[in-house]
């Protein structure tokens, strides 16, 4: 045995640190401030990135890829049935949703209630393949069955008096249960308002409530199989039966999204995927955050000068003690370890309080800054996270702080190891 127990080294270091409480406290304080500055500064990058990402994904899901058309020899073509079939064969595609807007004014009638809505024709097989979730009911099995949006109820009003409701006019809302109710759907011509199409539908399912407060879904969703019937009555051009207004491809996660987007592009489809936006944004924010961390690290480096000073003083003060230990037969490695341990402790304690303070500052900033901005800009509500501290930022900051602290202790530790016994004990050679 020639190696001091780690616990004994720890106890000795603790004792030495206690001897110079004020100096150690000031050094820890400098490290704390450096670490907190680094985290708070970088947290702005993380916070803004998160807020922007959230706003982006509010408009489009990360599991959805929108396909607008196909580029053939430099010309743009709408998507056809064949295109949809070829997209369906791509690996990882869980579903392709085609959607067509029914032209004309769509009037819905449920008993005495009446409303204006939007009618969409799409494939409605299941949640997995269409990315359309239900809050209650089931998916349509017949062409006279439909699904309505979660907020459809709000589009239905009781007419006031004997007059029919004008568009935008309101009466009493419908308050009953929509499921299994039969509604009469009338499609009128935009200009003449003559009824071009009329059919009764049974509501078999109600869409899921949107996670976003501002997004209301009062549409009615009918099966795509009705497209020919409706479009023919509406006197739409025949070519419209062969093409789709809107096609969205669904996948399981962001990785699949990236891969499928790439493949669709290779197949000359005009694609909009949020992953591309996210990629661009991620590159920008990676550079932005790296810059902030670099600036923050400067503060930690400045704090490290304090650690270097403290450790050098500690070695000088303990020269005699180190000399005695070496004279008795201390392993030089243990002496080095003890000084490195001491500087690492300063780094660890400083980082601990630094992280704690950063969370407090970050929390306060997210409350106070929006309040200030709201009062200055007279906005109603600013829903932006200015500062976010993810665990990876904490780990980066702690690694930098402890690493820099240990580096600053390295030279004093080497100095301690090389102390000459005779000089330390003031003995003549």
């Amino acid at each position: 045995m020639f190696i001091m127990k780690l616990n004994d080294q720890f106890q000795m270091v603790k004792k030495n640190m206690k001897k110079n409480k004020l100096r150690v406290f000031m050094t820890v304080l400098a490290t704390t401030m450096g670490c907190a500055f680094l985290i708070v500064l970088a947290s702005i990058g993380f916070g803004l990135q998160g807020s922007i990402m959230e706003q982006m994904t509010e408009y489009q899901s990360i599991t959805e890829i929108r396909v607008h058309g196909k580029d053939i020899d430099g010309e743009f073509h709408p998507l056809t049935k064949e295109d949809v079939e070829s997209i369906n064969t791509i690996e990882d595609v869980t579903g392709v949703v085609t959607q067509d807007y029914v032209p004309g004014v769509v009037v819905t009638n449920l008993n005495e209630f009446e409303g204006y809505s939007q009618m969409l024709l799409r494939n409605l097989d299941s949640a997995e393949t269409t990315n359309f979730s239900l809050s209650e009911g089931r998916y349509p099995e017949k062409t006279n069955e439909i699904i309505v949006g979660y907020d459809f109820k709000e589009t239905l009003y009781e007419p006031i008096g004997d007059n029919e409701l004008e568009e935008g006019e309101t009466g009493n809302n419908f308050s009953g249960d929509l499921l299994n109710e039969t509604i009469l759907v009338q499609i009128k011509d935009y200009e003449s308002e003559s009824i071009l199409y009329e059919k009764e539908f049974v509501i078999v399912g109600i869409g899921k409530e949107s996670a976003r407060d501002w997004l209301n879904d009062g549409s009615i969703y009918a099966n795509i199989d009705l497209k020919e019937e409706i479009f023919t009555v509406m006197d739409e051009p025949k070519e419209r039966l062969e093409i789709y207004d809107n096609v969205s491809v669904h996948v399981m996660d962001i990785q699949q999204n990236e891969r499928v987007t790439k493949e669709l592009k290779e197949m000359n489809f005009a694609v909009y995927s949020i992953t591309e936006e996210i990629d661009r944004l991620n590159i920008f924010f990676a550079a932005f955050k790296a810059g902030l961390i670099f600036v923050g690290a400067v503060a930690v480096i400045i704090a490290s000068i304090g650690i270097f000073n403290t450790m050098t003083m500690a070695v000088t003060e303990r020269t005699h003690e180190i000399g005695v230990m070496k004279a008795l037969g201390a392993n030089p490695l243990n002496i080095r370890q003890m000084f490195l341990m001491e500087s690492a402790f300063i780094g660890v304690i400083g980082s601990f309080f630094g992280v704690l303070i950063s969370y407090i500052v970050s929390f306060a900033a997210n409350i106070i800054i929006p309040l200030i901005l709201e009062s200055v800009t007279e906005s109603t509500e600013i829903d932006i996270v200015f500062s976010a501290i993810p665990i990876e930022l904490v780990l980066i900051a702690v690694a930098i702080s402890v690493g820099v602290a240990m580096l600053s202790g390295f030279r004093p530790a080497a100095k301690a190891t090389s102390i000459n016994v005779l000089t330390a004990l003031r003995r003549e050679a």
């Binding site: 045995m1 020639f2 190696i3 001091m4 127990k5 616990n7 004994d8 000795m12 004792k15 001897k19 005699h320 003690e321 000399g323 005695v324 230990m325 070496k326 004279a327 008795l328 037969g329 201390a330 392993n331 030089p332 490695l333 243990n334 016994v421 005779l422 004990l425 003995r427 003549e428 050679a429």
Partner: protein, 233 residues
């Protein structure tokens, strides 16, 4: 046990390229046998401390060999010397060299900590040692709360705690009054007689040298009448 052959050591004074060498130890040879008390005497500047520093591994000789337990220490690294000291040597210094921030108990415990011994075992050994050196009531005192004689006893306790085979003592009673000096010398003799510990001590005091089995005299770095010992008993 210790065999020193043709040992040379010089100081180097001046800047590089213009150095002057001052020989301090000149062709010194001697032996120390197991269980002996050997005193090295000489005036100030005669080279006694340098000789002890060479034997302790604090400095390296220019030439010559030091064999301890038939091991040639030539070429030992700093780490090897440290381990050797911890395993075989006990040190008693003129100015005690206790660590002021540690209690008597902790000072005696220090070599055991350096050896990596477990806390429980250390506790027992140190308590027994405090009793043995007559300081069982002073374990929690810091060095500045002890008299010179008590501090030297702590220093002896620290030297003995690892059960060394050789104790190297540098003027062990140099800072003590005559009454305390006698107490310490009696303790060293008792340890030698009862436990067979080998002592190699340097002193300028012929009274101290009287407790030694043999005395070697150094004069200007040379061992007088090389290899011839002055029988003191």
């Amino acid at each position: 046990m210790i065999k020193v052959k043709q040992l040379d050591y010089s100081y180097h004074i001046g800047k590089k390229g213009n150095q002057t060498s001052i020989p301090v130890i000149k062709k010194v040879s001697f032996e120390v046998k197991k269980g002996e008390i050997v005193a090295i005497v000489g005036r100030s500047g005669s080279g006694k401390s340098t000789l002890l520093n060479l034997l302790s591994g604090y400095i390296s000789p220019d030439s010559g060999t030091i064999e301890i337990f038939e091991q040639n220490t030539d070429g030992y690294t700093e780490k090897e010397w440290a381990k050797f000291r911890l395993d075989h040597f006990g040190f008693i210094f003129q100015s005690y060299e206790l660590i002021p921030s540690l209690t008597a108990f902790e000072n005696i415990e220090l070599p055991l900590i350096l050896k990596g011994m477990k806390r429980g075992e250390r506790q027992q050994s140190v308590e027994a040692m405090l009793k043995r050196i007559g300081l069982d009531q002073h374990g929690f005192h810091y060095p500045n709360e002890l008299s010179g004689g008590q501090q030297q006893r702590v220093s002896i306790g620290r030297a003995l705690i690892t059960n060394p085979t050789i104790i190297l003592a540098d003027e062990p009673t140099g800072s003590l009054d005559s009454e305390t000096e006698q107490g310490i010398l009696d303790l060293l003799q008792e340890l030698n007689e009862k436990e067979g510990i080998t002592f190699l001590m340097i002193t300028h005091d012929m009274e101290v040298a009287k407790v030694a089995d043999r005395t070697l005299a150094l004069h200007d770095g040379e061992m007088e009448e090389r290899g011839v010992y002055y029988e003191t008993k």
